[in-house]
Amino acid sequence: MGFEKFGRKSFTAVTKMAKFVDLLAEGKIEGTICKDCGAKFFPPRADCAKCLSKNMDWFEMPKKGKLETFTTAYYAPFGFEGDPPYTMGVVDFGGGQKLFARLSKDIKPEEVKVGMDVTIRPLKYDDNQLSFEITKA
């Protein structure tokens, strides 16, 4: 399985991080951690920007975080025309770990607030694309 399976529509087919999609299929949302210096990255990276090591391992992202910010898109780029409105946001898990994703459709727009408790979960679209989303804690 290649990286073209990631997200609503992927613009990247080949990456050393294609395993991220396999992990999503297993129900896991994982970042990478440098085995040499311990730096953690999400989105995951094949290479450590801190110590230049290529010696990386996977780690599971935290589940509980707070919604740091969000926006609801009423227009969409080419290829996403059928999707609006959809809400995207940033989750802050603390300790410098954050994640960007869409918010689940099961959160009503009027319920979305900066600072609300949220969690994350893998997501499979009808066309079998794999992603992850932010939902209520």
């Binding site: 529509k9 992927s10 989105p43 926006t71 780029p77 080419f78 995207m88 994640l99 960007f100």
Partner: protein, 392 residues
């Protein structure tokens, strides 16, 4: 530090659907800048061309444009940092002159956004940030700035009326700037929610509305840079580059430190430029800031030290940044009304400040003979930040 001067500035009208090719568009700004400087192509040692390449059908435009402008066989090349490309070009030109490699350098920014269809343009917009990890969610430029707006508004009490006030200020000067793409006045009723006639009110990426977003445009700008010797020989009214700052930031939103504090590159570039110029924000008499969205102007006030963090709203509420205020900002209409032809924007901002410092800004002229002006030019969603300080 008076070592590199601007002796010529030019800009095309910013328009929707320029009736000509990119080389003809580039010629408009170039001709005006050369006439302004009073020099010929023989005086020019090198040229730098700046744009966002995804809009151009022409690959490697520098050589093609240099030939059209009569700048061959001098060296030429291309510089890109998306919306701040021509500020980056000026920084590179400054370095070439300061190193002693060249005496006279032409920096030309251009963008024909209508070179491609709107469907093509939308796709490129969607890929304007992290294509591997964010574009698959359906991101676009207004949505990114909306993330900053949402967090900032929640923390600092900034309101939709404040954002509207930024747009109204921009339109005040778009009306009097003959080169602006959007020349109509904007009124509060244009933002009235639920009124189908209110064309600025529709949501784009909430909390940002149509009226919070800048105008796409086709346009070109040209800045002619020279060393001290040439400035004295060729120009009666050189404007000097006193300080330059530039910075970069992580592309992914998950790596941004704090959405309530604005763009980190704005702060970093400003502090470098102030230090190099040996001045403080209080010394700045007129400024051009990167108002691609209304929220960006408020964040810029704080990044540049015109207001404390969280207090940028006071400057728009008290009209401090109007032409008659303590620190006039974007009195040429800004990106919101003058327009934002990506690669040409930084050069156009610089042209405005140079004209202000020479007292030649016409109906937009700030009173009191301003002696120091500042340009703040951001690339991407705070991916690149550039601040350049000018003085007489």
């Amino acid at each position: 530090m008076k070592e590199v001067a601007v002796i010529g500035v030019g800009q095309s009208s910013f328009v929707r659907g320029y009736e000509g090719s990119i080389r003809e568009l580039a010629f408009e700004a170039f001709r005006e800048a050369m006439q302004d400087a009073g020099i010929t192509q023989k005086d020019v040692d090198a040229s730098i061309f700046c744009s966002a390449p995804e809009y151009d059908k022409q690959r490697s435009p520098a050589g093609v444009l240099a030939e059209y402008l009569g700048l061959i066989p001098q060296p030429t090349f291309y510089v890109e940092s998306v919306c701040s490309s021509s500020s980056t070009g000026v920084k590179v030109g400054y370095s070439m002159i300061k190193s002693g490699l060249h005496d006279v350098v032409v920096v030309l920014g251009f963008q024909k956004m209508s070179e491609i269809t709107s469907a093509e343009s939308q796709e490129r917009m969607g890929r304007g940030a992290d294509i591997q990890w964010e574009a698959p969610f359906g991101t676009m430029m207004p949505a990114y700035y909306a993330l900053y707006a949402q967090a900032y508004m929640a923390k600092h009490g900034l309101t939709h009326d404040d954002l509207m006030s930024v747009r109204i200020k921009a339109s005040t000067y778009g009306v009097i700037n003959e080169r602006a793409v959007y020349r109509k006045a904007v009124k509060p009723e244009d933002f009235k929610q639920g009124d189908p006639e209110a064309k600025m009110a529709g949501p784009v990426a909430w909390p940002l509305r149509v009226g919070d977003c800048c105008a796409n445009a086709d346009g070109s700008s040209c800045i002619i840079l020279v060393n001290t010797e040439k400035a004295k020989a060729l120009s009666k009214r050189p404007v000097w580059i006193l300080g330059i700052g530039a910075a970069s930031e992580a592309v992914n939103m998950a790596a941004r430190p704090d959405f309530t504090k604005g763009l980190s590159v704005g702060y970093a570039a400003a502090s470098q430029a102030y230090k190099m110029a040996g001045i403080t924000p209080k010394n700045v008499k007129v400024a051009e800031v990167h108002d691609c969205f209304t929220i960006a102007e408020i964040m810029a006030y704080e990044g540049l030290g015109f207001a404390p963090m969280g207090e940028g709203k006071q400057l728009i509420r008290e009209k401090t940044t109007y032409k008659e205020g303590r620190i006039p900002v974007n009195v040429d209409g800004g990106l919101l009304s003058k327009g934002h032809p990506i690669g040409a924007t930084g050069g156009s901002q610089i042209r405005t400040i140079v004209l202000q410092l020479r007292g030649e800004a016409g109906p937009m002229q700030v009173a009191g003979e301003p002696d120091i002006g500042l340009v703040h030019n951001i690339g991407g969603v705070g991916l690149y930040g550039n601040v350049t300080i000018f003085g007489r």
